[in-house]
Symmetry: C2
Subunit: 106 residues, 2 copies
Amino acid sequence: MYCISIAYPKKDGATFDFDYYTKKHMPMVSGLLGANVDRFEVRKGVASPDGSTASFVCMANIWIKLFYEFQVTLAKHGKEIMGDIPNFTNIQPILQVDQVVVGNFW
Amino acid sequence: MYCISIAYPKKDGATFDFDYYTKKHMPMVSGLLGANVDRFEVRKGVASPDGSTASFVCMANIWIKLFYEFQVTLAKHGKEIMGDIPNFTNIQPILQVDQVVVGNFW
């Protein structure tokens, strides 16, 4: 199992519309990835363990079955996906693909 | 549902022992958190979407039921948990607590 990790780092003047993100953006991305998606999750950064503001405003994951299929989707629809980002945030996300080493979803 | 997000950023000369992390560290932390743990996952950063090295060598999550209980555990065992980090990596992790906004585990 692979997993796309998306992290939105905090910054001064950051805005993030969780409603748009969860109801429009993520379902759109998930739809484009199609049968390759196992599931997705969106999380709101609450706090760092020392009580200070969380380093990331939002962290999201999309668990996928095939890395190659994701690359194909990204090549085809990357522009459309990235073009939707200004509709919910002014933060530039950090994106990466992970391999699940330990977890419920192999 | 809450989730502890742990991210190990890449750096020059970074070392990370996934074997120790998955077999010793995470089970130890999970054991200290006890019944508050729903599940945990460890992921190895494979690549950024553009093919460059992943921003984070390792990303891990521990889904928990109660934020307060986590704080209690951290106050009691934080030193022990942090003290184990040099046994598997020379990277200083970014830690934060997230609230699950959308996901399978509410």
